[in-house]
Symmetry: none
Subunit: 213 residues, 4 copies
């Protein structure tokens, strides 16, 4: 009954993942060394290679579950019943922002980086797939909220919307304040940002329709 050993192994792996997550988050992918991660995880640096083929693989194993959880939470927020369009978008945005602030530096890895590796390998492309999925979810939800069909118009609005929440995350992703503190302090601002955008989108819409007449 090698249960005990198995458990130990999973603990080690978890410790590695946790350490890597924290360090990547704090200092960025490149700046973190395998040895640092190992020390933080309380094991030898070679042990990491038992569980992860290399540094990049570690990163990706680290990135996928959180991103999938984020997707789940965003989907929930997007389909919340009995909420106005604006409220839904605000919830969606809060979920996204909170995730980014809770994962700090990792965030930079998810949404920055790697333009040059998009095409190369599979691990990276899985992240890209997830990224794209998030963006599509955003677009769909925004389309419903604005009553816009798929198309250039909606795409442009989605981009603008994405810039906004991406900008929020980016702005605070290096702050020393905790995610909780930031959320508490700034949620009104974030909500207002969403409200402003929605108002603006609608106003633009009206203008154009008026223009058409």
């Amino acid at each position: 009954m090698p249960r005990l050993q198995e458990k130990r192994a999973e603990e080690t792996k978890a410790a590695i993942v946790a350490a890597a997550k924290q360090l990547f988050g704090e200092k960025g992918y490149e700046a973190v060394t395998m040895r640092e991660i190992a020390k933080e995880a309380g094991c030898s640096h070679t042990t990491i290679y038992i569980y992860f083929k290399d540094k990049e693989t570690l990163l990706h194993h680290l990135s996928v579950p959180p991103l999938e959880e984020l997707r789940g939470r965003m989907e929930t927020a997007a389909s919340e019943p009995g909420a106005s369009a604006v409220e839904r978008m605000q919830k969606l945005s809060r979920v996204f922002i909170e995730f980014c602030l809770g994962n700090r530096g990792l965030y930079g890895i998810f949404f920055g980086v790697n333009s040059e590796r998009v095409d190369t390998a599979s691990p990276s492309s899985e992240i890209n797939r997830l990224r794209l999925g998030l963006f599509n979810l955003l677009r769909r939800t925004l389309g419903e909220a604005l009553g816009l069909p798929d198309g250039e118009r909606l795409l442009a609005c989605s981009r603008i919307y994405f810039y906004q929440i991406h900008g929020i995350a980016a702005t605070y992703s290096h702050s020393k304040e905790s995610a909780d503190a930031l959320m508490e302090r700034l949620t009104p601002t974030f909500d207002e940002a969403v409200a402003v955008l929605m108002l603006g989108f609608n106003a633009l819409q009206s203008n154009k329709e008026v223009g058409k007449q």
Copy 2:
């Protein structure tokens, strides 16, 4: 006649700065080596150490002038006569975005960075001062455009505005497309983003005023 030597020295220093600016801009701080900079500048890598204590110092000496130039250009844009409020903000934003995309790697340094080093050294704080200056310029201009007095209200709007343009810069700061190509392709979107925000701000204003009545 030490004039000649002095001049030569100035030239060398300028070459180093230019090379570093370009390379940091293209590839980011970490990815550039001192030897690369030296080769691009046409001197030995040891020469760099004559003018700059170390790599980081070089970076900071390098960051200030572009940021100051940016400030200048933004100020010009902000005070352009005979332009509507929206147009002024759009110009301002384009200047900012173009700068960020044209300086890629540098951009990450100006607006990302270094929570842990903000307090350490002085050069960093100069960057912070400049950063703050830019934000104030933005706020002032936006205040004028919206007819808002200084205060919480304007601050919130400025933040939201900043998120937007920061998000734009962040989104494309890792793209492989050239700054020019990106600007050509996306300027309409960027302008629209500004327009949407302005519409939204105004709409919010009206709502509130209506609410007050």
Copy 3:
């Protein structure tokens, strides 16, 4: 009933030896890892250490049987009835060459080696013994083929003969072609090499006898 266990153990050991033999043969000693051997043998890499103190020991335990088999086959070839002297030597050589090419990496270990380790351990000396045995077999057979008594003369001829077949083996021991392919393509050349040597030995003999007269 420890019989069953013992049998299982024998099987495992045999599997390890077989795997190691194949892999060392294919890729050479250094290029093969213990884990590779274990995987090929269908056991854990730690199991290997139950049967063999370390990698080197495994190598030596591995080397002896093939060499003994080679000796057996060479003896058979040497005493083939109803064959001319030249044919016997050709057969003998083919057996040797085929063995070397079929065992590639191993070959280098048998005949290359390790000047610095010859004296260290005993296992090596067993290999040396076998090596010597092979050489003696060669000499004896050649002596019969040439009608030469033991002595300096025969020794010199044997050496020359050995250089030839050793050279053949060495030449192709790094080729990527399979042993079979090489044998098919080059057997005529190898046979001719032997024929040339035998003709040469005989001619030399005649010359000397003529000289004596």
Copy 4:
């Protein structure tokens, strides 16, 4: 006048080359580490990278000059006036063998290895070119000595000849005796080997001609 520095640099480089030559020779390419070489050369291991891009480059820079010198010496031997065919071949062979024994382990690198890298890069291919050049020189000289035209016949003879001298080199390339000692002790045998081959080639020739009649 940086002459002094230049001189120092060349000394260092020479020391590295010498150390690498010795160590590669003693222990083989793979078994030698850059740090070992550096220690032997009396410098830091990073210094090696100033002069040589990487380990393989070092090897090749190390291999080419000796091989070219060998070629020169073999050409001289091949064209020695007033020598019989056999004598010329003997001289040629002695030069080759002496070189191999004098360069021990390096020899294994020149004439063993790297079938798999023949196609990859340039450095390796330069060695291959040299190797081929030597073989062609051998073939040409042997053709003249035997009065054979270019063709399959000569090619087969050349191969057999090459096996012989390659076998000699291989046989003693791991011996602990010095090159000089070996040459002194075994030159008669080597010469005889050549003589036997030449006799054999000629005899074979006669046989065939007789057969044709």
